[in-house]
């Protein structure tokens, strides 16, 4: 396991042993056989590394064949690779799984001597990592004893990566050897701060755009990172509004059409751009030598993410990378300072390890069966060598096999339609060749929200008449628009005209007041580690001197009017405002955990007859408002961790986020088809029926494997239940309460976000009622 910062030459180091071995083997009469596999999280990176490898190999006249295999590889080349494998194959985890599911996988992979796993830190603790770990366990069975080299950027704790890399045995804790690269030059990080004005809320940093523009002007090439696609669009627009020198500034995010993104990347590689506004789509990836400054707009969210982004500037170890952090509001000033301190101190966020997903295991087992009949005992023994599945119980394994075979329902209702059957020789085999086809069409663990194409209508053309494709946007966003609404996309203000089939049709408009696109993408929660550092900073007034004046003043007034909590305290403030009563607490655990907390608190307050009306959460705080005063409430009772029981389950069951998690698991597990053979299913059919399947399954078989997989997923990721649970434990006995006569300075940012969130369950009914009322109002207006 080689852990080193960017620019240290990790990738070449990973290949060196293979190059030496292959060179020693010579070219003469060697049968074509795969020697080394390289796995990268990005296909663009695989292609780039292949190019960088071919060059030295050619210079040394090494007789080595190097090829890539990605989703873009043409069928003819795939076919040729099968019968005439290259020495070194560069590919992705998804392609590896597909290759392993082929009937001739044993022949193809039997000769493998080495596997190089690049950017492992970006994979190991995710569903793609689960898929990769399972594929490696299969590969170990086919080519026992092959060498694995893992490459990773600097991480807080390399132990889980070291375990990931080697086969686990029950009762042992096997780890790969660790090689730690030397740190490079310390980065130069500055936080842009104005002593004149720092906004109370918002994420756009509009007030700082002139400074950002100036920083771009001083750089050769700058990467401008933002956290969401909506922010990317807005920032791009703001920059061009003041781009008096017409500097070439481009836009890059995941919704843009692929050829547009490739164009930007190519222009970047040629060095003709001065800046690219981008989201996490450019966090990883190929080296651009010319980038000499990284500008991060908004909250950094985590120290490791910040290090990754800073590393995108200047790929040389001995020169410092330069970064500018641009906070968009007061809390973000604190977060930026905390992140800078952490990075300079060389401290990074830890990651909570999630257990391997049962949905991913389902897909893997189906793939194994497609390759060849399997023995359940042997397969179980093989799977628990993969570190994410080391603790998998035999019962869960058997449940997964049953699920793959017949859906795993009680009473074995679907035995006669089984996809897998156990034959008299005791082996499980697929029941029909169609099963292998279905597996191939549904393989992969990346599930997108249902998307629609955005097409630009020609002048005077009706909706549906075709048009140039601009990109893809989540369907739920587009479905909420009415013809005539405007939104920003791809740097333009577009007017929504209508939806036909799988496309939303738009026209250009000069309307400067566009509705901000609220389509999703790239929302990371504030890391626990960074949250801790922010709380630490709040608790130490002597450190405030570094903060811009308005922020220091804000904290001092807070200290005077209320209090600033200690690093392990939870401050809970109550105060009246206009006709309502507020309760605001500051856990600093990220928006998702706060939303879950808000839901649970309002249920409790409801039972206490305090008549809560709604809540709003941001990354740092949670505000609840009610018709009755909550000041007299026993806060230790209210925040007791036993709230994570029935209430949580009841709420989860109805939550839209939870249903989306179920949909993802169902697609990965193959319960819902990603695509029907021959034709891509439209996203909207999938969304709608997955909710219904969820409802029916929950009612009739609440302990079904897929519901268990969904719960595990939601608890770890989407809803941050684990984090919430840790927080409730931490603050037990450490709740600091203040009853105030009016709103406190610290509460203002949270209150400014009020408007959207309401008590769930009732919210749906309110939305329907308000829609009807507004329709009636329109109708009755004379």
């Amino acid at each position: 396991m080689l852990v080193a910062p960017t620019g240290g030459g990790k990738t070449l180091a990973g290949f060196m042993p293979s190059l030496i071995e292959l060179a020693a083997m010579g070219a003469a009469k060697r049968p074509a056989a795969l020697h080394t596999l390289y796995i990268s999280p990005l296909k663009a990176l695989a292609v780039d590394v292949a190019r960088n490898l071919e060059q030295p190999a050619a210079e040394m006249a090494l007789p080595i064949r190097i090829e890539t295999r990605t989703g873009d590889t043409p069928p003819s080349r795939r076919q040729r690779q099968k019968y005439h494998p290259p020495d070194i194959l560069l590919t992705t985890p998804e392609q590896l799984s597909l290759l392993l599911s082929a009937p001739d996988a044993s022949r193809f992979f039997g000769s493998v001597r080495a596997v190089v796993l690049d950017e492992l830190h970006a994979l190991y603790n995710s569903k793609r990592g689960d898929l990769l770990a399972l594929a490696l366990s299969r590969l170990e069975a086919i080519a026992p004893g092959h060498r694995r080299i893992g490459l990773s950027a600097t991480v807080n704790d390399p132990a889980p990566l070291r375990r990931f890399l080697v086969p686990q045995q029950p009762g042992e804790n096997a780890m790969a050897d660790l090689v730690l690269g030397q740190g490079g030059a310390r980065p130069e990080i500055s936080v842009l701060a104005s002593d004149a004005y720092v906004p109370w809320a918002g994420h756009l940093a509009r007030h700082s755009m002139a400074d950002v523009m100036a920083a771009i002007g001083e750089s050769k090439t700058a990467l401008v990172f933002v956290n969401t696609r909506a922010q990317a669009e807005r920032t791009f627009q703001e920059l061009w509004r003041i781009n008096d020198d017409h500097l070439p500034i481009a836009l890059h995010h995941g919704s843009l059409v692929q050829e547009q993104r490739r164009k930007v990347e190519a222009a970047m590689a040629r060095g003709v751009l001065r800046a690219v506004v981008c989201t996490s789509t450019l966090d990883l990836g190929i080296d651009w030598g010319a980038v000499d400054r990284v500008i991060c707009i908004g909250a950094p969210k985590g120290a490791a993410r910040l290090v990754q982004r800073i590393g995108r500037a200047n790929h040389r170890l001995d020169e410092p990378s330069r970064a500018l952090l641009v906070p968009a509001n007061r809390f973000e000033v604190l977060e930026c300072e905390a992140a800078r301190d952490a990075v300079l101190a060389g401290e990074l966020d830890g990651e909570r390890l999630r257990p391997g997903g049962l949905d991913v295991l389902t897909q893997h087992i189906l793939g194994v069966a497609c390759s060849a009949p399997f023995d359940a005992d042997a397969l179980y023994a093989e799977i628990i060598t993969a570190s994410p599945y080391a603790a998998l119980s035999r019962k869960d394994f058997d449940d997964v096999v049953n699920f793959v075979a017949t859906g795993g329902y009680a009473l074995a209702r679907y035995d006669r339609y089984a996809r897998l059957r156990k034959t008299s020789d005791g082996l499980w085999r697929i029941a029909h060749p169609r099963v292998a086809r279905q597996y191939r069409l549904n393989a992969g663990v990346i599930v997108e929200d249902p998307m629609l194409d955005i097409r630009l209508l020609g002048k005077g053309k009706p909706v549906g008449a075709g048009g140039r494709m601009l990109g893809r946007v989540e369907e739920y966003f587009l479905e909420g628009l009415t013809p005539g609404d405007t939104f920003v996309f791809s740097g333009d203000v577009l007017r929504f005209e209508g939806i036909r089939d799988n496309a939303a049709f738009v026209s250009r408009t000069n309307d400067p007041e566009a509705q901000i696109p609220s389509y999703n993408g790239g929302k990371f929660p504030l890391s626990t580690f960074l949250a801790g550092r922010v709380r630490e900073m709040l608790a130490h007034p002597e450190k405030w001197g570094l903060l811009p004046d308005p922020v220091g003043e804000w904290l001092r007034i807070q200290q005077w009017r209320s209090v600033l909590p200690g690093p392990n305290d939870l401050l809970v403030e109550t105060f009246p405002r206009s006709t309502k009563f507020y309760l605001v607490c500051y856990p600093f655990e990220g928006r998702l955990a706060h939303q879950t907390l808000g839901m649970l608190l309002t249920r409790r307050l409801e039972r206490l007859r305090l008549r809560p009306m709604g809540f709003v959460a941001n990354e740092y705080a949670l505000a609840v408002w009610a018709l009755r005063d909550m000041a007299g409430t026993d806060m230790n009772r209210l925040f007791d961790e036993d709230m994570l029981g029935d209430d949580l389950d009841a709420w989860l069951a109805e939550s839209a986020l939870y249903k989306r998690t179920f949909r993802n698991c169902a697609i990965i597990a193959g319960l819902i088809e990603r695509r029907a053979p021959g034709q891509e299913k439209t996203g909207r059919q999938v969304t709608f029926s997955s909710d219904l399947i969820y409802d029916v399954l929950r009612e009739h078989e609440p302990d079904h494997l897929l519901l268990r997989a969904t719960y595990a997923d939601a608890a770890a990721g989407l809803l941050d239940v684990a984090r919430l649970s840790d927080m409730l434990k931490r603050v037990k006995g450490n709740i600091v309460r203040r009853h105030l006569d009016r709103v406190s300075p610290l509460a203002v940012p949270a209150l400014l976000e009020i408007s959207k969130e309401m008590v769930a369950g009732e919210a749906g009914e309110d939305i329907l009622r308000e829609t009807e009322e507004s329709l009636v109002r329109d109708a009755m207006r004379v």
């Binding site: 859906g407 795993g408 679907y414 479905e479 219904l692 959207k756 939305i767 329907l768 329709l775």
Partner: protein
Amino acid sequence: MPCVFETTSIVVNGETLLLDTAGALYWPSREALILADLHFEKGSSFARRGIMLPPYDTHATLNRIVRLFKTYGPKRIIALGDSFHDGEGPARLDGHARDQLAALAKAAEWFWIEGNHDPEIPLWLGGYAAAEIAVGNLVFRHEPAIGAEAGEIAGHLHPCASVSRHGRTLRRRCFVADGYRVVMPSFGAFTGGLNVRDAAFQRLFPQDWLAYALGGRRVYAVSGSVQALRRKKNEEAQPSSVAINTVKMP
């Protein structure tokens, strides 16, 4: 505290119909419960092709019908076609579902309209099967016909309405009605939907229509032409216009 549900009624070709939040119509003067697109055995239909959807959809759908039966006590039940997801669906019903269906067919006259998924309804299910039936001022058929006579009650299209407020989007099954005809939401547990903004609906409802989305407590008119509501206000007596009359029911 008693939960008060409000029932919305509409007038179609002179007949008053209640819109139930479960997605059913009730016709009080004929004591008829009307359901569209039940798609029984959709789960097992997919399972035959290797997509193992949960096998509980038929039970879920039947339980909802039983609940409606207890509420309204109808003398007749009209199922507007696609009652089974495929032609072999009836043969795949399990014992419990067969018993429940038999009990319902005994308690009320059951009319099976034939749909494109289930053109032939087996006799052993009980009740009557027909391509379409006319009762009073209404005609019941599976697929709505373009330029149909007034009084058509149909299904087939699975209408859904999307609404957006406060940055949230909801998608709900809905009735679409214009005073002359109704397209009903699908009732089956696994049935998907087609947005009412789709061209298919524009062809059927050239003007003055409203979409009534299914809420938890009542149906809500959430989309449609405002003229429909305005006309209702101005010409209270006009039977062909869309009306929203809300009555409270315990």
